[in-house]
């Protein structure tokens, strides 16, 4: 059993982002510099505070904090295990990058943008830190609702329509999760996460367990964009401003996946799921999503839309890895959370720079853009190569672990899915690189102008991470070391 310590840190960490609001509201108009400083400072402080929990996470120590008993037996409480820490540190890094980036990118309605981005950071951390399904659900719902202002930030007709679609999907999903939650509570008697499954096949009949499982998957599947529940993703990503798209793809889709992970590990447990026989159908669903979403991605001409479909495919890697129910598969799936966040985050930020500097969204119009924006497109290429699973990038590591996992699970045919997906990734990413670098007019070089430093630096850091995570895999503190601890405790 892991050691448990009481800590007030989770609540403090969650409170820090809120401090950005008074700054943004009071100084937003008169002293934008101060507002920005407070906003970035709060995000950075959140990140630093989370890093202080690192030693505990590496030792597998669990920090718990009880907040309030909402109703008898139903608590708001935090419990930071290694998995929660892993997710929290990841999302705070991505948040920090996009925060710095957004200083240059967001030029209208900054106050609202800063406030809601900060609030969402807090709620996402709440999901990562939650000690039971109820707490997770509370913050999950709040996060879902408060993402809406970010998606419709530009208030164009397209953004409104995408926002509406998002709301319909997400609120319906919320009600579905609520149904699953209450079933779990009614039949299982507890909502707590204990590091192993709490539902018991001896007291609950198999059909009921199957229903609870499917309802949970339907609910969280909307955020984790399992096909055919992905409908909002390709609309919301292009409509949102680019830093928000990066957050959506990098973190918010993963929050859905995180919900599924909790259902898998802390509600049902690996053994029970194996007995229920739901893993194989889920694997097929994930494979279907990977292939079909990649095919859709090929047909898109809007860059951000193509990236969005690619995200749909990539998030299903997580699902695929987890439902292999083998240690290496789980490592691959959990690694994918971080790796994809860096790769897709970088890609969306690059797309943002392209839109910001040239106003172009259509890939066919991007001839020679690599000459105009060489650093941006270099970063883009690095991340795209990562997506294809090229060795020495983090995408390769994920695919390698997933491949190992499928052999371990005696289901080697899923390697074919991985290979096919890599191929399709190449089909939709290589043309962009080709168009950008080799198809332009040589005179374009004269028009070279990179973007401002606040937007450039996060992109470069993101691309650097794509390579670092692919080479220095086992360095302590990087995702692999954390994931290893999580998986070791589970299997």
């Amino acid at each position: 059993m892991s050691k448990i310590v009481h800590s007030v840190l989770p609540a403090i960490i969650m409170a820090v982002p809120w401090l950005a609001i008074p700054g943004a509201v009071l100084w937003g108009k008169k002293r934008p510099g101060a507002a920005k400083a407070v906003y970035v400072g709060c995000t950075a402080a959140t990140f630093l505070l989370i890093t202080t929990m690192y030693p505990r996470a590496m030792d597998g120590v669990v920090s718990v904090q009880h907040l309030v008993e909402v109703a008898p037996g139903i608590n708001l409480a935090f419990r930071v295990d290694t998995l929660g820490f892993y997710f929290a540190i990841l999302l705070s890094v991505i948040w920090l990058l996009t925060t710095v980036y957004s200083l240059g990118y967001i030029r209208t309605r900054e106050t609202r943008y800063y406030c809601f981005t900060a609030i969402n950071l807090s709620f996402c951390l709440g999901v990562a830190f939650s000690a039971n399904m109820f707490t997770l659900f509370v913050f999950y719902e709040l996060m879902s609702l408060f993402t809406y202002p970010l998606i419709i930030h530009e208030e164009t007709e397209i953004a409104r329509r995408a926002g509406l679609k998002y709301l319909v999907y997400t609120i319906t999903a919320g009600a579905v999760i609520l149904a699953a939650l209450i079933m779990q509570y009614y039949y299982g008697g507890t909502l707590s996460f204990l590091g192993h499954g709490t539902l018991n096949s001896e007291t609950i009949s198999k059909p009921v367990l199957l229903i609870i499982f499917s309802v949970y998957m339907l609910g969280f599947g909307v955020k984790a964009c399992i096909m055919p529940l992905h409908g909002w993703v390709p609309d919301a990503h292009p409509a949102a401003p680019s830093p928000t798209s990066a957050l959506l793809s990098g973190v918010i889709l993963k929050v859905g996946a995180f919900g599924i992970i909790r259902v898998l590990f802390d509600v049902f447990g690996i053994k029970l799921l194996g007995d229920l026989g739901v893993a194989l159908p889920m694997l097929w669903v994930a494979s279907f999503t990977i292939i079909v979403a990649s095919l859709f991605a090929i047909t898109q001409n809007d860059l951000k839309r193509r990236l969005a479909y690619s995200s749909v495919a990539q998030v299903s890697y997580i699902i695929l890895g987890l439902f292999l129910l083998s240690p290496d598969g789980a490592i691959g799936g959990l690694l994918q959370i971080a790796h994809h966040a860096f790769m897709k985050g970088t890609l969306f930020l690059c797309a943002g720079i392209i839109i910001h500097e040239t106003g172009k969204r259509d890939i066919r119009e991007m001839n020679g853009i690599g000459s105009k924006l060489p650093i941006t497109m270099l970063a883009f290429s690095v991340a795209a190569l990562g997506m294809m699973g090229t060795p020495l990038t983090c995408g390769f590591i994920t695919k390698w672990e997933l491949g190992l996992g499928s052999i371990q699970a005696h289901r080697p045919y899923f390697i074919a899915v991985l290979l096919l997906s890599a191929l399709l990734n190449a089909v939709y990413f290589l043309p962009i690189i080709y168009i950008a670098f080799f198809k332009g007019d040589p005179m374009d070089k004269l028009l070279k102008h990179e973007t401002s430093r606040t937007m450039m630096v996060p992109v470069i850091i993101g691309a650097a991470f794509v390579v670092i995570l692919g080479i220095f895999v086992t360095v302590p503190g990087l995702p692999y070391s954390l994931v290893k601890i999580v998986v070791k405790a589970l299997f």
Binding site: E69, V70, A71, I182
Partner: protein, 484 residues
């Protein structure tokens, strides 16, 4: 007892128009204080009883405050106080000056009658108080004297009067059968099986009558007109408290007078509870659908009340302890949430004369507190965690599972999806449309209107997070009532 004091208050105000407000405020505040001082007592000894003029129960009139009565009384005084403070500035703009004393008089009367209704244990008193609050609410709807208001009030009067008459008949039936008017006494006398047919007829009459008062589908038709045309604090009062009296009536009859476990009546009782539950389910869905298609903010909020009353009655008639606790909790959640929504609607009318939802574009930028209060209260109406509405829905759902009523699970969830549609539409118009008008800074309502609104909306959040303040007692109350 506080009743007499409250009833005497307005006379003074009749000839000193300006003094009306402070005087009624004083009355309501003292009453509230007295009611709240009883909380500890009721919690300790379960029931506080007082025999008026010393006659003992079967003969004399008894006032009896059980847990349910206390809950309602606290709610009435708490929300009533907020609404009164809000009225001070608002009412001047909506009704003629010479009618203002009438307004406060009626307000105190309805306040008194509702309190009396919640805590009496005598059926005749029950009827009298019901008549007082019904008649005063017709008058309050009509108080502006406009044509539309008179029409709405007349419609309300027509349905209300029929239902009151029905209650009177039912009481007469029971009296003829048992020879008693005290609820507990009747309850014990009904146990002997001789009165069965009469008692069943009375039960049906009672429930039908109170269904009208609580605006259950399909007898809700008076509500949207009356609630939307009345001045906003009155709408809030009607929606938050007066229709709850109908719920309380159903509750009293089903549980205090008749009770769950009568051998002879149980089939009638169960089928009536079932009918009410289904009517409540229909209310939830149709009320929400009607709310969605409305364009007038207040009518939308009024239809939302129909749907929320559905939740309350569904919870109560599930006949499961959790469901009942959820239903009762929704009384609290809805009273605060809906009062807040109406007050916000009132502020929009007061400041800008806006009633239509599309006209609220961008109003969140100039009135952030008002619009924020609306958003917070709307979250509770929808049932987004952590809000009071969520706790209520959670328990109602739990009750559905306890009783294996899976159809109602879907109704409850669908209902909250539909309510999300109509609530978030308004929030959307307020915050996310309309360009910010440059040069227009903050333009908020006066403090005495803003504060009650904000307090009520924060209350929905407070009771969502600290639900343990109420829930254990509600659970106990439900367990006692259902003998489980």
């Amino acid at each position: 007892m506080p009743l007499a004091f409250a009833a005497l208050c307005p006379i003074w105000g009749m000839w000193r128009r300006k003094a009306c407000f402070p005087w009624s405020l004083l009355g309501v505040a003292i009453t509230s204080f007295l009611v709240w001082s009883l909380i500890g007592k009721v919690n300790a000894s379960k029931v506080v009883a007082y025999n008026v003029s010393g006659w003992r129960p079967p003969w004399g009139i008894q006032i009896r405050i059980d847990y349910m009565g206390l809950l309602m009384a606290c709610l009435i005084t708490g929300v009533g106080l907020m609404l009164l403070i809000y009225s001070w500035r608002y009412i001047v703009s909506e009704i003629k000056e010479e009618r203002i004393p009438y307004y406060y008089t009626l307000y105190l009367l309805i306040f008194t009658a509702m309190l009396g209704f919640s805590i009496t244990s005598d059926l005749f008193n029950f009827f009298v108080f019901m008549e007082i609050f019904s008649i005063t609410s017709y008058a309050l709807v009509a108080i502006s004297g406009e044509r539309m208001a008179l029409r709405a009030a007349f419609k309300y009067l027509l349905m209300g009067a029929i239902s009151s008459l029905t209650v009177l008949f039912a009481i007469a039936f029971l009296y003829s059968a048992t020879g008693s008017l005290n609820m507990l006494d009747i309850s014990s006398r009904l146990k002997s099986t001789a009165y069965l047919p009469v008692a069943s007829v009375a039960l049906i009459l009672f429930i039908a009558a109170f269904a009208v008062k609580s605006a259950l589908f399909p007898v809700h038709v008076w509500l949207p007109d009356a609630h939307s045309i009345a001045p906003s604090p009155v709408s809030a009062l009607l929606s938050a408290l007066v229709i709850k009296m109908g719920v309380l009536g159903i509750f009293r009859i089903l549980f205090t007078v008749y009770g769950h476990s009568f051998s002879g009546l149980s089939s009638t009782w169960n089928s009536i509870a079932g009918v009410v539950a289904w009517a409540a389910a229909l209310s939830i869905i149709l009320g929400s659908v009607m709310a969605i298609i409305q364009r007038d903010l207040k009518i939308m909020i009024a239809y939302s009340s129909v749907s929320q009353i559905g939740y309350i009655l569904l919870g109560i008639t599930l006949i499961s302890t959790r469901g009942m606790a959820g239903g009762l909790y929704n009384i609290v959640a809805h009273a605060m949430g809906k009062a807040c929504l109406f007050l916000v609607a009132g502020i929009f009318i007061y400041k800008h004369g806006l009633r239509r939802i599309e006209n609220l574009r961008g109003i969140g930028r100039t009135m952030p507190v008002t619009a924020g209060a609306f958003a917070l209260a709307a979250l509770s109406i929808v049932g987004v965690p952590p809000s009071a509405g969520f706790v209520a829905k959670w328990y109602i759902l739990w009750g559905c599972f306890q009783e294996g009523q899976y159809a109602f699970v879907i109704v409850v969830l669908l209902g909250s999806l539909l309510s999300a549609v109509y609530c978030f539409r308004v929030v959307y118009y307020m915050f996310f449309t309309g360009a910010g008008r440059p040069g227009v800074g903050l333009d908020e309502a006066p403090f005495t209107m803003l504060a009650p609104t904000a307090i009520l909306s924060v209350g929905t959040l407070f009771f969502g997070i600290f639900a343990t303040l109420l829930l254990p007692s509600l659970n106990n109350a439900a367990r006692v009532l259902l003998l489980k």
